[in-house]
Structure formats: structure tokens, C-alpha cells
Amino acid sequence: MGDARISGLVLVDKPDGPSSFAVVDDLRRRYRTKAGHAGTLDPLATGLLLVLLGRGTRLARYLVGLDKRYRTEIRLGLRTSTGDGEGEVVEETAIPAEEEILALEGDVELPIPAASAVKIEGERAYKLHRRGVAVEMPVRASTIHALRIVRYAPPLVELDLHVTSGTYVRSIADVLGGHCRWLRRTAVGPFRVEDADSDRVLPLLAAVVHLPERRLDEDEAPAVRSGRTIPGGGEGPTALWTGDGELVAVGIAGEGEIRPETVVG
């Protein structure tokens, strides 16, 4: 309310080249409103980027932490300093068999790539990396929910991956003794790249399709807008919406009530 500019979610299929920021900036100018993405994508990666517009930017917190799906082609046998084709070859390795690649499915600890945005002692890892500072990169626990070999043609392998948030595909390439040739994000949680259309601004409700929902009646909607708690079941973030499909807020459910956390409508 009080903001007549457009609000919503745009599913973008980012091309190879521009940074996530550039894509967001483009939409910001085009729709003349606040814009932000929910989960960055490397410049060299293509695929699904979620861009929130206007009041929708407040919903970003509910979109981080979603599982991701990727398609990638890995050049086996050559490890690089970056885990992708940009870095220098640091090691030649034996080419793993299909069974060895498939064995990666499940819980894994993966090193965070040196050329990532993770902060090491207060500084971005990629900046240290660019200056040539060698740092011991921490490992991060990830889960590879599903790993499918689309095509095995050594030294190349194409994989379809379903992973937890924060999993670096470049690290997967690295532990397989190779590097990523290309990377495409095909899904973020419930959002699919097939539905991407940067000309279409989806309603705010579309940004929270993965949350449980609670429909508000005529009295509850104004109560929620003014931050008042309403009765309701469930646990955790819950989309609160009216009969005509308008998202009013995301509330936190627990102990028989729902407390508005982020009011958007």
C-alpha cells in the first residue's frame, strides 16, 4: 500500500555474460521500481534468476535457502584454479568412471571455490584470489539430492543435479577432478526455467508458492496489515492472502497463531 508502482516476481532466463546485478538493474530501469534478486548466478552461468520488484523485494528472505537444479557440462581430468574454464589448469587427474560420479549423490562436504563471494577473514574470497593470495578454503556440507548423468563422453560429462542451497557446482566439478565448461540453473525450489519470461510480472503470491497458505477473511486482512496476530495452524512462514489472490503478508505460524512478519499488501 502507498506504493502504486509495480510489485511482483519476474522469472528471468539469464543469458551467458551479464552479471545477476546487470539483469536486475535492467529490470529496475524498465519497471522504474525497486528490484532485487533472490540468489545470485555467476556471470558465466545461464538459467533461472528470480527477480523481485517493488514491495516484492521484501520477500527475498523466503526465497533464499531453496534447493536448486542445475545442468552442467564438466571437463573431466583437468582441475582448474577456479573450477571453471576461466582459471588455470592446476592438475591433470584420472578420469572417473560413471559409477564414481554417481557415488557423489547424497551428503557431501565440498570445498568452497576460491573464486567465490564467500568472505575469508572479512574479505571476499574472489578478491583475495585475484590478488594471488592463496587461502585455505573452508568446506561446506551440502546434499546432492539427485545426480543424473545425461551424457558420458569422456573427457566430457553432462550432469543433471538437484542440490541444497549453497552448493557450488564448480566444487562438484573440482572433487570429480575436472572443471565446469558451462552451467545452467534449471530450477530454484518450485520455480522452473521453462516458465521464465522477463516480460511478465507475476503477482506477489507467485513468489511464495512454496509456502503453506492461510486465506484471510474481510476482518483479518486489515488486522494483518496493521501487524496484528491472527489465529491459525501450522509452523513457520505462511502466506497470508485474500480471496481475490492478493498477498497481504507472510506470517510466522506457531502455537495456534500467525504473527505477520513481512507485510506487503
Partner: protein, 288 residues
């Protein structure tokens, strides 16, 4: 729960879908909806209206109206329901075209369907075809002996506790209260004369115990043989109820069949029997 009338009304998302007519939303249907919800994907029920058998020219007596069906599906808790208008054209659609528009076209990744599920022209669409089109098909959890046709059979026989056990709730009859013979009032038992909605299943003739609007009900379904009637009437006497129901909609839960309908030697005998029926209705217990 969002109710969409066309695929375009759905929000883009990866989905798990249960397809069917879901007439009655019985225990088996609810197990299917639970299976869809358990996938963790956005859960969608795709249901057809009107009932495909009606469109194809067969007679089918339904357990629920569309509104009631949507209400009951909503209680089962899916994220959304897509109501697809069933037409002759749709029944002749090639299965691949149906899948492209209503399944892969809405982001479906998982379909919960029985191994014997068939759809599309010539009933050529089946589970292997769904799999070949890239969909993951998960089997329907088996709920032994529960099917809409079995429930209809029990209702036709007047076995309402049996039907309720499969439905997971009492059988209901729904419709509008219309003007009747106004005979009940003169006997001391004013009744609501229910005109059930089109195509709804009506139980075997007889006297029933049940509930409506929170009141116990003694209901008569039949032709009123005592008065030599020939037209079917559904008359509900609501115990401890005062008020005029003419013109309003009424949902009648029927719990058990108390007796067959019959003619009596005198009006006094009839009234005495009605009084006994009312007491039996008061003592009746709601099944399940």
C-alpha cells in the same frame, strides 16, 4: 487453497498432480491427495467437471456436487485445485496433447496415479506413456475396497454406515427445500421437502436417521405409500427445529436406514410410527 478454472490461472511452479473426478472425496481420494502433498512439491488436484461419464452420455449418480467436492478437497489440504471442463472434445484429445496442456504445461513433475489409469482418445494414455513424456509417476496408495462405485452401491442398498466407513464421513444429500404436499404439518411433524441437486445419488426408499443444520433428522425417502403417492419425495423432519426453510439450501447427513416405507391401516397408526421413528432418530449415532 486456490481454485483455478484454467491452466493460465495457476502460478508457475513445479507441481505434483493428482488427477481424477474425486466424486465423494472418499478415503481413497484423500490418500491420493496426501501422497501428492508428501512430495514436497506444490500440490495440485486436477478434477473434471462435469463428470466425464455424464458428458459421454452415460448415467451416473453422484455423491457430491462440484461445490461440495471442492470444499472437501480443500479440507484434504492441497495447495490448489484445477477444475478442467470435461467435454466430448477433451475426451477425444490425443493423450500427448492432454499431457502437454494440463500436465507438463503447468510444470508437473510428479503424477500420482494408479497403474490402471487411462486417459485421452481411445484411452491410449496410460502410466508408461506418462513416464515416456518425462513425468515421474508415483503409485496411488492402496485403500482396500474403497471406490466411488462401491460407495454408490452401498447407498443404493441403504447401507449408510457401510458407505460412511468408506467415505470417512456420513453420506450427504444436498439440494433446495421446495414446497411439498404440506401433509407433515397437519400430522404434527412439519417436514422440509428436499429437491436434490441434479444427478445426485438418492438412497434406497425408506425411513432414515440423520442430521441437518445441527438438528437430528428423521427423513422419509419414497413415494408416501400410505397416501398412494407415485412421485419420489425426500422429506426431512428436523427435531427441535422451528423455522421456515422454504427456498433455502439444505445439506442432509443420512446416518442409517431405520425401516422400509409402507402403508398403514390408519392415520393414527402412521402418526404413532412417525413418533417412534423420531425417537429412533434421536437415539441414532453418527457413523465414523
Amino acid at each position: 487453497m486456490i481454485v483455478a478454472r484454467s491452466p493460465e490461472e495457476l502460478l508457475p511452479a513445479a507441481r505434483a498432480v493428482a488427477l481424477g473426478t474425486f466424486d465423494g472425496v472418499h478415503r481413497g481420494h484423500r490418500a491420493v491427495i496426501d501422497a501428492v502433498r508428501a512430495t514436497g512439491l506444490r500440490s495440485t488436484v486436477l478434477t473434471f467437471e462435469p463428470h466425464p461419464r455424464l458428458v459421454l452420455g452415460y448415467d451416473v449418480q453422484l455423491l457430491t456436487t462440484l461445490d461440495r467436492r471442492l470444499e472437501l478437497i480443500g479440507e484434504a489440504g492441497p495447495d490448489e485445485v484445477l477444475v478442467v471442463e470435461f467435454t466430448q472434445e477433451l475426451s477425444r484429445r490425443e493423450p500427448e496433447a492432454f499431457v502437454a496442456e494440463y500436465l507438463t504445461g503447468i510444470g508437473t513433475e510428479v503424477v500420482v496415479a494408479g497403474e490402471d489409469f487411462r486417459f485421452g482418445a481411445g484411452r491410449r494414455g496410460d502410466v508408461p506413456l506418462l513416464r515416456s513424456l518425462g513425468l515421474e509417476v508415483r503409485p496411488v496408495p492402496l485403500v482396500e475396497g474403497v471406490s466411488s462405485s462401491e460407495i454408490r452401491e452401498l447407498v443404493r442398498e441403504g447401507d449408510l454406515p457401510g458407505a460412511a466407513a468408506l467415505l470417512g464421513r456420513p453420506f450427504e444429500l444436498e439440494g433446495e427445500v421446495v414446497y411439498g404436499d404440506r401433509r407433515g404439518g397437519t400430522l404434527g411433524f412439519p417436514t422440509a421437502n428436499l429437491a436434490p441437486d441434479a444427478h445426485l445419488l438418492v438412497p434406497a426408499f425408506g425411513i432414515y436417521a440423520g442430521e441437518a443444520l445441527g438438528h437430528r433428522v428423521a427423513a422419509s425417502i419414497g413415494v408416501n405409500p400410505h397416501y398412494g403417492g407415485s412421485e419420489r419425495r425426500i422429506e426431512a423432519f428436523l427435531l427441535d427445529f422451528e423455522g421456515d426453510l422454504y427456498g433455502s439450501r439444505l445439506r442432509l447427513e443420512l446416518w442409517e436406514r431405520l425401516r422400509e416405507e409402507r402403508a398403514f391401516g390408519s392415520e393414527e397408526e402412521l402418526v404413532a410410527q412417525i413418533a417412534a421413528d423420531v425417537e429412533a432418530a434421536r437415539a441414532a449415532r453418527r457413523p465414523v
